[in-house]
């Protein structure tokens, strides 16, 4: 009984993705009636996509942007989380409350002014606009702070006696002992940056600097796909592929990471 219900539901969740993949490798005139398998397979949709949009460049842009943000968030997040959890200084609680406050602040209020800052900085159509505003992330600071609190002070004191400075303590002592936090924050950050589309749509107009979601979106809504479904779907497959592959290998981490952010919020 349970298995029947679950299997029906699983099909509802997975079949559309299956359909997307086979539609992207089916001849264009068969997509309209396609259900299980086309009569012949072709890569012509992919060839046309490569012809029409700089998908390779967008892939590299997305990779650069998402990796830079992830590395930045891990480095800054652990530095700030360390100061907030293990050091004593005036204003510490105030900073902590400000961070909590910014987490509840809806982004709708800062969207327009943030765009104006990018214009004034001359950052429109640069990597800076895509990367710099995301380098610091309130949730990651809170998660690092929480995790570091569970690491005993004696470990840090011992490192200090051995002559470690604070940066060495963070990256040589705390990091190797915080792998679950680093994996969790790394996965959420990379995935969120890879999938982000509103901000790139606002700050990037130069096609050679576009990230994957932006390029695929503009391709889908603009006239260039010329209502050819196969080409549109091929670009969607390319956008989904890296994250789905990562998900297949690290499924457990993905689910834990996403669930932990939901619970914290």
């Amino acid at each position: 009984m349970f298995y029947i219900a679950l299997t029906i539901c699983a099909v509802i969740f997975v079949y559309p993705f299956y359909w997307m993949v086979i539609a992207s490798i089916a001849p264009e005139n068969e997509i309209g009636s396609l259900t299980i398998m086309p009569t012949s397979l072709t890569l012509s949709s992919y060839a046309q996509m490569v012809d029409k949009i700089p998908i390779g460049g967008a892939f590299i842009n997305s990779l650069i942007v998402a990796s830079s943000i992830t590395i930045g968030v891990l480095i800054f997040g652990s530095m700030i989380g360390y100061a907030l959890s293990k050091l004593v200084f005036k204003g510490r609680d105030l900073i902590f409350y400000i961070i909590i406050f910014t987490m509840t602040l809806p982004f709708q209020i800062t969207l327009i002014p943030q765009y104006i800052i990018m214009v004034k900085f001359g950052w429109i159509d640069t990597y800076y606009a895509l990367i710099v505003p995301y380098l610091i992330n309130a949730l990651s600071i809170i998660m690092f702070r929480q995790y570091f609190k569970s690491i005993p002070d004696s470990l840090i004191d011992a490192a200090r006696l051995d002559g470690c400075n604070e940066l060495q303590i963070i990256f040589r002592i705390l990091w190797p002992n915080s792998m679950p936090a680093i994996i969790t924050i790394g996965i959420i950050t990379f995935m969120a940056s890879w999938n982000e589309v509103l901000w790139p749509l606002i700050v990037i107009r130069d096609e050679s600097l576009m990230t994957m979601p932006q390029l695929v979106t503009l391709f889908a809504v603009g006239g260039r796909a010329e209502s050819q479904l196969g080409v549109k779907l091929a670009s969607a497959v390319m956008l989904a592929l890296p994250i789905v592959l990562a998900y297949l290998f690290f499924q457990k981490y993905f689910i834990q990471s996403m669930a932990s952010t939901g619970i914290k919020e």
């Binding site: 969740f13 309209g32 009636s33 800054f76 209020i109 380098l135 589309v197 509103l198 939901g262 919020e265």
Partner: protein, 286 residues
């Protein structure tokens, strides 16, 4: 040495302070200033007093976008909770292949909203979309999933449920595991049936999770953007204009920075108000 030790924490948190001032504090203040001005970024700012606010309350598209968000939430939230709770309940049994099913339900969560939207746009297609092919297959007439103004927003709500429900299944599973097994054993002794156990034990115990789902879905509803942007462009007849899509149009299509900032401020205040009211409900409950 002592001064170094005192300065060090501030050095470590200084990136946060710079980021906060530049990307949070200044924008919030500047956004309020903007609401009293007319500005297209290129020409000098022009003070217009309360004009933007007057315009807001007379703006049919703004009111429409509020109504659209409400429709979205009215369908999305109950659907989300029912489906997630139903599947979490089943997955909470000790079943084989549990991980595989959980993994399948979670797949849409990790995939970009752009992919999901492009895909569902085809499924909802009028002539060759899968849903209409199924309907005509059983002898029913076609539905204008995205072209009928009274249905389009509901179609988007169903798609959003499909995309997010995997996450909420996991949250409910975590919630279900906090219910002590003794409660069910005691209920068994008294001869309670499955439904009684669900409504008398499970539901009250996982109330906090339900409220969390409501809050997250509400924030999600007000953040809806890429779905209408790709699927409908806000149409037909503005029936799918969402809050963020309207800010985007005013700001980056017409370059009405002052008015777009006013919209942003208003939507932010509404989100905060809704979340605070919902939080009050939770506290009352416990």
């Amino acid at each position: 040495m002592i001064t170094r030790k005192k300065i060090l924490p501030y050095l470590l948190v200084s990136p946060y302070i710079v980021h906060f001032l530049l990307f949070v504090a200044f924008p919030v203040v500047f956004s309020i200033v903007l609401t009293f001005h007319k500005w297209n970024i290129i020409a000098p700012m022009e003070y217009t007093g309360l004009n933007n606010y007057v315009r807001l309350f007379n703006d049919k598209t703004f009111i429409k976008s509020m109504g659209n968000t409400l429709i979205f939430l009215l369908f999305h939230i109950p659907l989300q909770i029912i489906v997630a709770l139903f599947l979490a309940e089943i997955l909470n049994q000790k079943l084989k292949l549990r991980g595989v099913f959980r993994g399948a339900f979670f797949l849409p969560v990790i995939v970009s909203g752009v992919v999901v939207t492009i895909l569902w746009q085809q499924l909802y297609g009028f002539d060759t979309g899968l849903f209409n092919r199924l309907l005509t297959g059983v002898g029913l007439s076609k539905v204008g999933w995205l072209t009928d103004p009274s249905i389009a927003m509901v179609s988007i709500a169903v798609m959003a449920t499909w995309k997010n429900v995997g996450l909420y299944i996991i949250l409910f599973l975590v919630g279900l595991q906090t219910v002590p097994a003794q409660y069910y054993e005691a209920a068994d002794l008294e001869g309670a049936n499955h439904w009684q156990k669900f409504f008398k034990i499970t539901l009250p115990m996982i109330n906090p999770t339900i409220f969390m789902v409501v809050i997250l879905s509400t924030i999600g509803g007000f953040s809806l953007f890429i779905e209408p942007y790709i699927m409908t462009g806000g149409g037909p007849l503005n029936s799918t204009v969402s809050a963020v899509l309207y800010i985007y149009k005013q700001g980056f299509f017409y370059y009405h920075m002052g008015y777009a900032a006013t919209l942003g401020l208003f939507f932010a205040l509404i989100i905060l108000a809704v979340v605070v009211i919902q939080k009050k409900f939770i506290e009352k409950d416990h």
